[in-house]
C-alpha cells in the first residue's frame, strides 16, 4: 500500500500542486497580518475541481509554507508574518540588523525543515497507535470527546473560557440550521429556502477568518512596517546547524507535543521552545541580541506543530485548531471523514497525508533555498492592493462552493459577526471548531440517548466518556472557583 501511495504522490500534477501550495503559503505567511488559516480558508474553494489527493496536498503545502513564511518578515522587518513567528523576531531581526540576515533566514529554513520532518515522522508512528485505541469509542465517548475538545479550545486561548464556550455554542447552533441529520426534518430555516441544506461550512469559515481579517487590516492600512533589511550572502553550514542538535530536537519535541493538544498552536509552541532554549543555555544572556540559537528554537517548534496537529484530527476526528478545522471541512467535502475508521477503511489516505507531509517539507527546503529573494520582494506588495484582491477571492471562493449567491451572504454575515465579537475579545477558533464538530456532537448525543432509552447515565457509567466530561466540567467551573477564592482573599 505504501508503494502505491508513493507512486500516486510522485506524479507531475501532485508535485506541481505541492510547489504551488508551498509558494502560496510562504507568500501569505510572509505578508504581515495574513495568517495560515486565512490562506487555507481562501484556497479551499480552489480545490473543488481537483482530485481529492491534489486538493489535500495543496492545503497541507499551504499550511506548512505559511508557518515557515512568517519567519521571513519577522527577520527582515521585525514584524512576524504570522503569530507563530513572533518569537523569531527576538533574535532573527537582531541578526539581520547586524548584517546576518542571510544566516538568520538560512537557520529559520533549516530549523523549520527539521521540525516539520520530525513531526511528520511522529505522526507516522504515534497516530496509528492512538487510532487503534479510539476504535473502541462508541457514541457516548464521541459526544464526550467533542465536548471536551470544545472546552479545551475555549480555555487555552488566553482569554475568558466563557467567551470561548459561548462562541462554541453559537457555532453548534449554526450547525442545527437546515436538515436534521437523524430524521431529515427541516428546522430553523426562518422561512429562507437557501438554508434548507444548512449553513455551508466553507463560506462561513471564509467569513470568520478572511472577511474579519480584511476588515481588521483596513484599520492598519497606513501603518509603516519599517524598512526591509537586505538579504546578505551569509549562510549557516551544516556543521554549525547540527551543533545546535540538542535545541533542535528539544524544540521539535515541544512543538510536536503542543501541536497535538487541541487549542494550543504554533505561536505558543515557538515561545515555549525559545524560553526552554534560553533557560537551558550556557549563555542565556546572548538570547535577544541576535543569537542564532534563538532563531533555531522557535522555528523548529512552530513547524513541528504542523504534523502533530494532524494527530487528533486523523485519529479522533477532532480538529485541534482553526487550520485543522478548515482542513477537516475540506476533507469531509472530499468524502474523507477523519477519525479512527479512516485507519481501517481508508488507510491509503492516512499514508498519503503522512508521506505527503515529508515530501512537502523537502520541497519547502528547496523553495526556501532557491527563491528566498523573490519571496522577500513579494512582501513589499502594499496592503492597499492586497485588500481588493483578497475581497474578490473571498466573494468568488464563497460563490464557487455551490454556485449560489446566498453563500456569499452567509460569508458576509459570519464575517461581520466575527469582526464585532472580536472587538469584545470573543475568540473565533471555538466557533469554527464547533461548526465542524456540530454534526458529530449532535448525532452522538442523540444516538447515545436512544441507546440508553433517554437516560443521561450512559455518559457517566462508561469510564472514557466520564473522564472527558469530568475534565470538561472542571475546565468550565475552575475559573469561577479560582476567582471566588481570589475575591475572598482580597
Amino acid at each position: 500500500m505504501i508503494k502505491d501511495v508513493i507512486i500516486n504522490l510522485f506524479t507531475f500534477e501532485h508535485l506541481l500542486i505541492i510547489n504551488i501550495g508551498l509558494a502560496a503559503g510562504i507568500i501569505v505567511g510572509a505578508l504581515p497580518g495574513l495568517t495560515a488559516t486565512m490562506a487555507i480558508a481562501l484556497l479551499v474553494p480552489i480545490t473543488y475541481s481537483f482530485s481529492s489527493t491534489a486538493g489535500v496536498l495543496l492545503l497541507l503545502a499551504v499550511y506548512a509554507g505559511a508557518i515557515y513564511g512568517g519567519s521571513i518578515t519577522a527577520i527582515l522587518i521585525k514584524t512576524p508574518g504570522t503569530p507563530s513567528a513572533a518569537a523569531t523576531v527576538l533574535d532573527g531581526y537582531e541578526m539581520a540588523a547586524k548584517g546576518q540576515a542571510g544566516a538568520a533566514l538560512d537557520m529559520a529554513l533549516n530549523a523549520s525543515e527539521f521540525g516539520g520532518i520530525f513531526s511528520a515522522l511522529l505522526l507516522i508512528f504515534v497516530a496509528p497507535l492512538l487510532a487503534k485505541m479510539a476504535l473502541k469509542f462508541g457514541p457516548p465517548e464521541y459526544f464526550a470527546l467533542g465536548i471536551f475538545g470544545l472546552s479545551v479550545i475555549s480555555s487555552v486561548g488566553g482569554g475568558s473560557v466563557y467567551k470561548g464556550l459561548l462562541m462554541g455554542m453559537l457555532g453548534l447552533f449554526a450547525t442545527t440550521i437546515g436538515m436534521d441529520p437523524i430524521n431529515g426534518i427541516v428546522r430553523l430555516t426562518f422561512g429562507i429556502d437557501a438554508l434548507w441544506n444548512g449553513i455551508n461550512v466553507i463560506p462561513a469559515m471564509i467569513g470568520l477568518f478572511a472577511i474579519s481579517e480584511i476588515m481588521q487590516k483596513t484599520k492598519t492600512i497606513y501603518d509603516n512596517f519599517g524598512e526591509i533589511l537586505k538579504v546578505d550572502k551569509s549562510k549557516v553550514s551544516l556543521k554549525e546547524f547540527f551543533s545546535y542538535w540538542k535545541t533542535l530536537i528539544k524544540s521539535s519535541m515541544i512543538g510536536s507535543f503542543i501541536g497535538a493538544i487541541p487549542g494550543t498552536g504554533a505561536a505558543i509552541a515557538a515561545f515555549m521552545a525559545y524560553n526552554e532554549a534560553k533557560r537551558s543555555s550556557k549563555t542565556p544572556e546572548k538570547f535577544g541580541t541576535g543569537f542564532i540559537e534563538g532563531v533555531a528554537a522557535p522555528e523548529a517548534a512552530n513547524n513541528a506543530v504542523t504534523g502533530s496537529a494532524m494527530i487528533p484530527l486523523l485519529t479522533l476526528g477532532i480538529p485541534g485548531d482553526s487550520v485543522t478545522a478548515i482542513l477537516m471541512g475540506a476533507l469531509i467535502m472530499k468524502g474523507i471523514v477523519p477519525g479512527p475508521q479512516l485507519f481501517v477503511e481508508n488507510k491509503e489516505w492516512v499514508y498519503l497525508i503522512m508521506i505527503g507531509f515529508i515530501l512537502i517539507n523537502i520541497f519547502m527546503y528547496l523553495q526556501g533555498k532557491l527563491f528566498i529573494k523573490a519571496f522577500v520582494n513579494i512582501t513589499k506588495l502594499p496592503t492597499t492592493i492586497l485588500i481588493p484582491i483578497l475581497t474578490v477571492l473571498c466573494v468568488v471562493g464563497s460563490f464557487a462552493v455551490s454556485n449560489n449567491i446566498s453563500d456569499v451572504f452567509i460569508m458576509l454575515i459570519f464575517g461581520l459577526l466575527a469582526y464585532v465579537l472580536m472587538k469584545f475579545k470573543f475568540p473565533i477558533t471555538p466557533m469554527v471548531i464547533a461548526i465542524v464538530l456540530g454534526p458529530l456532537v449532535e448525532q452522538n448525543l442523540r444516538r447515545s440517548l436512544i441507546i440508553s432509552e433517554g437516560t443521561a447515565s450512559i455518559f457517566f457509567t462508561r469510564p472514557i466518556s466520564l473522564v472527558f466530561l469530568a475534565l470538561s466540567i472542571f475546565i468550565v467551573i475552575y475559573p469561577l472557583f479560582k476567582r471566588l477564592i481570589k475575591t475572598m482573599k482580597a
Binding site: 475541481s49 466563557y162 464556550l165 455554542m169
Partner: protein, 162 residues
C-alpha cells in the same frame, strides 16, 4: 467602561439570546408530540447551555468587578484628552472597515445581475478609491489579479461564474 462591567452586559445579552432561541425553536422546528429526542432537542440543549454559560460568565465578571472595586485606588486613569484623541482615530479606522463591508455587500448584490467582470471592476475600484489609492499602477495590478482569478476559476477550475 471597565472590562468586567462590559462583560456583565455581554453576559446578560447572551442570556437573553439563549432565552429567545429557546422560545423560537418550537416555532421554526416541527416536533413530534411526546418524543423527547426530536429535531428540537439539540437546539434547545444549546439554548439552555448558552443561558447557563452566560450565568457563569456574569458571576465571574461580578467577582472581578468586586475585586477591582477594592483595588481601584491603585490603578492609573487616562486623561480625557487622551481618551478623546484615541476614540477619534478609532472611529476613523472603524469607518473605513465598515465602508469596506458596505462595498462587499454591494458587490455581492450586483454579482449576479451585472456579472463577474463589471461587478468586480466596480467593487475593486470602489475599494481602492475608499482606501485613497491614487496611483494608476495600483489599479492596473488589482484589475490584472482580478482577471487572473476570473480565468483560473472559469477555465482551470470550471466554475460557472456569472
Amino acid at each position: 467602561m471597565r472590562q468586567s462591567k462590559r462583560d456583565m452586559i455581554l453576559a446578560t445579552s447572551f442570556f437573553l439570546l439563549g432565552v429567545v432561541l429557546y422560545l423560537i425553536i418550537p416555532i421554526f422546528t416541527p416536533g413530534k408530540p411526546g418524543v423527547l429526542l426530536d429535531s428540537r432537542f439539540f437546539p434547545q440543549v444549546i439554548a439552555i447551555a448558552i443561558m447557563g454559560i452566560s450565568v457563569l460568565m456574569f458571576a465571574n465578571n461580578y467577582l472581578i468587578h468586586l475585586h477591582d472595586k477594592r483595588t481601584a485606588a491603585s490603578q492609573p486613569t487616562q486623561s480625557p484628552q487622551t481618551i478623546a484623541k484615541t476614540s477619534a482615530s478609532d472611529w476613523l479606522n472603524e469607518r473605513r472597515a465598515f465602508i469596506l463591508l458596505g462595498i462587499i455587500l454591494l458587490y455581492a448584490l450586483l454579482f449576479k445581475p451585472l456579472g463577474f467582470i463589471i461587478s468586480t471592476a466596480l467593487a475593486t475600484t470602489g475599494i481602492l478609491f475608499a482606501l485613497k489609492v491614487r496611483k494608476i499602477g495600483s489599479y492596473v495590478i488589482v484589475y490584472a489579479f482580478s482577471a487572473m482569478i476570473y480565468l483560473i476559476f472559469k477555465f482551470v477550475l470550471y466554475v460557472r461564474l456569472p
